[in-house]
């Protein structure tokens, strides 16, 4: 795992335009160092026998029982326990910020989403995708077919950041769409009112979804490395801009940042949501490692 992190930096991988290729490269590279998959052979599991009724599929008859008892029984299996994961990718304007690296948060989020999709589908989990800003832009229901990967990748590639963030509203809408419980992987900077966001996430939790939030940060947002007078133009609203002396503002900014992160962390902890901060200059493997750790816990 450590080797993968070291070898695959976002800067290197940025050059790979094809998301599928990229995801494959990342995931393969990531998995090279792993032990044998603990998920091998868990596709079907016997639950009970029941008597044959007309209309049942002939192929589901248990011929061995028929040979022993001369009666027709149908084998019934537990439902497939494969993970149903839905990737919620934030495509709001704030995600289009790119620091020195030139990699936008949105691009980073898409790549993480691509990697996770690839990984999950490879594990035969179902993967769905939602892109959103102030409303749901695209909804791809979860599927576990390998061919589903292409749909996901295409959807991700088509997604361009823009528009305002309204996480809480979007999440409340999604609760109705995602009926079956599963894993929700949110890739967003989570900018917005924390209490409202928490309320929406609680809604998900109420629907018994597990949630991982990969909070995407740019290094500039964490360090605020500005010195000269700067006019900050909002990425989400044209009218919103602020001319400030960053030197004198920095202390307040850092304080606000700490408070924001603390509130978010506290809220997530309360609702048993995994909050994983990701910085766009960090390797993608960090996200994969977090996901796998969580997956193992779930299994």
């Amino acid at each position: 795992m450590a080797r993968a992190r070291d070898s695959l930096t976002p800067d290197d991988l940025r050059k790979i335009a094809n998301l599928q290729m990229f995801a494959r490269l990342v995931v393969e590279g990531f998995c090279t160092g792993l032990h044998a998959s603990p998920h091998k052979g868990f596709s079907v599991e016997f639950r009970e026998h029941r008597g044959y009724v007309a209309g049942d599929e002939i192929r589901r008859l248990d011929w061995k029982v028929y040979g022993k008892t001369d009666r027709l029984y149908i084998r019934e299996y537990e439902e497939e326990t494969n993970l149903r994961a839905t990737l919620l990718v934030d495509a709001s304007g704030s995600m289009s910020y790119a620091g020195k690296s030139g990699l936008t948060k949105a691009a980073y989020a898409q790549r993480v989403a691509a990697c996770l999709s690839y990984l999950m589908l490879k594990q035969q989990d179902s993967v769905g995708l939602v892109t959103f800003d102030s409303k749901v832009r695209k909804y791809v229901p979860p599927r576990s077919r390998p061919s589903h990967l292409q749909i996901l990748m295409n959807t991700l590639e088509e997604t361009k950041p823009g528009g305002e963030t309204e996480l809480a509203k979007v999440f409340h809408q999604l609760v109705a769409k995602i009926h079956r419980r599963g894993l929700l992987i949110i890739l967003s900077d989570c900018f917005g009112e924390v209490s409202e966001l928490m309320s929406a996430l609680a809604h998900f939790r109420h629907a018994r979804h597990d949630i991982i939030i990969f909070q995407i940060w740019d290094r500039d947002e964490l360090d605020f490395p500005f010195h000269q007078w700067t006019r900050f133009d909002s990425l989400e609203s044209v009218a919103d801009h602020r001319l400030v002396d960053p030197i004198r503002l920095r202390s307040t900014y850092m304080e606000n940042l700490e408070n924001f992160r603390a509130a978010l962390k506290q809220g997530c902890h309360r609702h048993r949501i995994d909050l994983v901060p990701l910085v766009t200059d960090e390797p993608y493997a960090v996200a994969l490692a977090h996901y796998l750790a969580r997956r193992m816990k779930t299994a």
């Binding site: 900018f191 007078w229 900050f232 909002s234 989400e236 001319l243």
Partner: protein, 671 residues
């Protein structure tokens, strides 16, 4: 408020420098498209407000510092309403001390230049007057003038050495002049060395609100002076010995050994002596001299010492040497027998030898009195009215009249028609034997007898004598009898004097003529009365110089400064009044006058600065010791107080506040 360096006020624009820097920084901003806008917001409004206020304060301080520095350099002056009067015309009186003590060092030069600067700086159209404080205080110009350049020119010609400063009179004079001046803004400036002897016991006149004492010169203590000269005779003839006793005093703490003292007559050194003077010690030196020619002579005693004040090292005296002193003896009871006449003893006493100064002429009548210096009436019963008139005129013009009673006098006539000549009316003849009361004699004619070696007046026995009525106020009792009645009574009449005795000059009623003191007593009385006929040659500052000249042709007088003055005699009498400067005045005839000054100036001790301060407080005046101090004071009075110093402190304080605020904000930035 006004500025002394107004052009530097433009430096206040420097306050814009921090603003410009601020705006430049603000205008050269970069644009960042940013997502986390909600993190840019201040969490709490009051915190934002506080930060904004702090930064605004910092900006204001940074703007204020260069502006205040520029203001400091522009030297602002707090004025209020005074600025309206600042350049207003003023009435200024300068009391300038030109006394002897101002000659110490270059004190007077400083004082004169100080006064000139004041006059030169007066606002255009101001009125100025100067009062010279030395000797007899007088204004420099007759009237206050608007022509300040003329005042300045006249000041430049002034010198010190005008005797002792007469502070009370000077200040009164200055205050009087100031009162008559025209401008509303009035100022009196007293420039002096504040010599203790001059300034002690000075009462404050009504001083104007803006009064200034300018104290110049350092105190010098080492000074030796010739304080006075005592002459043994008031009248001296050719060949007669004159004893000159010079009194010297050491005013300082230094000890002087073997000081050379020179005696000069008419500028020629005649004798020299030595004297040692300890600290604050006085001493005497005696010189004897006989003049070999009649006329006016000047004697000078000079002590050769290097001290602070030179002008008091020499003391001058004018000595008129008489060739002959004509005295008319009018004998009212002549006798053919020797020593029986009323004037016989007198004749011998006044002219004991042919070489005597006094030349007596005896007559029965008081005729041709004008050619005499003294007339003696001895036992004269009465006079004709014409004689009374001529004698009265004779005395009025400076002659001396000596009256002795006797058995022949008509007291009724004397008390009535002769009362113009008689100092005190006779009342009665007393037969009580008595003698002359010996006491300390104040009168110059009898001062000789204060020394017992010159004779004991009480040794005489008197059998009969005339009582006088109560002495009127214009008479002076020279000596009294043991009974308390007057023995000699003097009355001044015009420029002359009349002395009347209560006892005859002969030996009829007393044994006076047989006593040893008779001769010096008569000599003293006659020479005293004769000296009245000659106007004094040694006068105090301010007294007029008067001389009798042969005719009414104009004469010229040379004053101590060497200036010549043309004088026109009236009835052979010439008079010169402007004797403010001490020293030798010489009439061409020649007659010498010496104007002396009080030697109190020789004590150079000054008031101490605290004493001057407290003194000034009673006068309501300010004290300054230099031109700069005066200029500041004047500036403050006219325009208000300069306050660049507190501004400078404010700048320094602001620099510290700026540093502190900057660090405080820096710390909050680093958090």
């Amino acid at each position: 408020m006004m500025f002394l360096n107004a052009i530097l006020v433009a430096g206040v624009t420097a306050l814009s420098i921090p603003l410009i820097i601020h705006l430049l920084h603000r205008s050269r901003y970069r644009v960042v498209r940013w997502g986390a806008m909600h993190l840019l917001a201040f969490r709490e409004r009051h915190q934002k407000r506080r930060l904004e206020i702090q930064h605004l304060l910092l900006l204001l301080i940074r703007c204020a510092i260069p502006a205040l520095i520029a203001l400091c350099m522009a030297r602002p002056v707090m004025t209020g309403v005074r600025s309206l009067l600042g350049a207003a015309k003023t009435s200024t009186v300068i009391a300038l001390d030109n006394s002897d003590s101002m000659n110490v060092g270059n004190t007077f030069t400083q004082a004169r230049e100080f006064a000139q600067k004041i006059v030169d700086r007066l606002p255009r159209g101001s009125e100025a007057a100067v009062v010279l404080m030395g000797g007899r205080p007088a204004p420099l110009l007759d009237q206050p003038t608007f022509d300040t350049s003329r005042v300045s020119y006249e000041l430049s010609r002034q010198q010190a050495g005008f005797g002792a400063a007469n502070v009370p009179v000077s200040l009164d004079l200055a205050a009087g002049i100031l009162k008559k001046m025209h401008e509303a803004h009035r100022e009196m400036i007293v420039i002096s060395d504040f010599q203790r002897t001059s300034w002690s016991n000075t009462n404050a006149p009504a001083m104007p609100p803006a009064a200034t004492f300018v104290h110049l010169g350092r105190e010098e203590k080492n000074n030796v002076s010739v304080e006075s000269l005592d002459l043994s005779r008031s009248l001296i003839g050719v060949g007669q010995k004159l004893q000159v006793r010079a009194h010297l005093r050491n005013h300082g703490d230094a000890v002087y050994r073997d000081l050379r003292v020179y005696f000069r007559v008419d500028g020629v050194e005649r004798a020299a002596s030595q004297i040692s003077l300890g600290a604050s010690e006085a001493g005497q030196v005696l010189f004897t001299h006989a003049f070999d020619a009649p006329g006016s002579h000047v004697i000078a005693v000079t002590v050769d010492v290097a001290d602070a004040l030179n002008s008091d090292n020499t003391f001058l005296a004018s000595v008129p040497v008489e060739d002959c002193l004509p005295v008319l003896l009018v004998d009212g009871a002549p006798s053919n027998e020797p020593l029986r006449g009323a004037t016989d003893f007198l004749e011998i006493a006044l002219a004991p030898s042919p070489a005597s100064l006094v030349a007596t002429r005896t007559s029965n009548q008081a005729d041709n009195v004008a050619s005499n210096r003294v007339v003696v009436l001895a036992n004269v019963a009465q006079l004709s009215d014409e004689h009374v008139r001529s004698l009265t005129e004779f005395v009025r013009r400076g002659g001396g009249l000596l009256i002795f009673p006797g058995n022949r006098i008509n007291t009724v006539w004397w008390n009535s028609r002769g009362k113009a000549l008689l100092p005190v009316p006779f009342t009665a003849l007393s037969d009580d034997p008595t003698s002359i009361s010996v006491q300390h004699f104040e009168h110059p004619a009898l001062e000789l007898f204060n020394d017992p070696r010159n004779g004991d007046l009480s040794a005489a026995g008197i059998q009969h004598w005339f009582k006088f009525a109560e002495a009127p106020t214009n008479t002076f009792v020279l000596a009294r009898l043991a009974t308390g009645d007057p023995f000699l009574v003097e009355k001044r009449l015009g420029d002359g004097s009349i002395i009347c005795a209560s006892v005859p000059a002969d030996a009829e009623w007393s044994n006076l003529p047989t006593r040893p003191f008779y001769l010096p007593l008569m000599q003293q009385l006659v020479t005293y009365l004769a000296s009245k006929a000659t106007p004094p040659r040694n006068v105090e500052i301010g007294q007029s110089l008067v001389a009798v000249v042969p005719d009414d042709k104009p004469v010229e007088l040379t004053d101590p400064a060497g200036e010549r003055h043309r004088l026109k005699p009236e009835s052979r009498l010439v008079r010169y009044d402007d004797t403010r400067r001490p020293g030798l005045y010489t009439l061409d005839t020649p007659i010498h006058f010496v104007v002396n000054t009080a030697r109190s100036e020789s004590d150079l001790e000054q008031l101490t600065p605290p004493q001057i301060e407290s003194f000034a407080k009673t006068f309501g005046a300010n004290v300054v010791t230099s031109w700069d101090e005066y200029r500041q004071l004047d500036q403050r009075r006219r325009y208000g107080r300069e306050f660049w110093r507190p501004l400078l402190w404010l700048v320094i304080a602001l620099i510290f506040v700026e540093l502190w605020l900057e660090q405080k904000l820096g710390r909050s930035r680093a958090k």
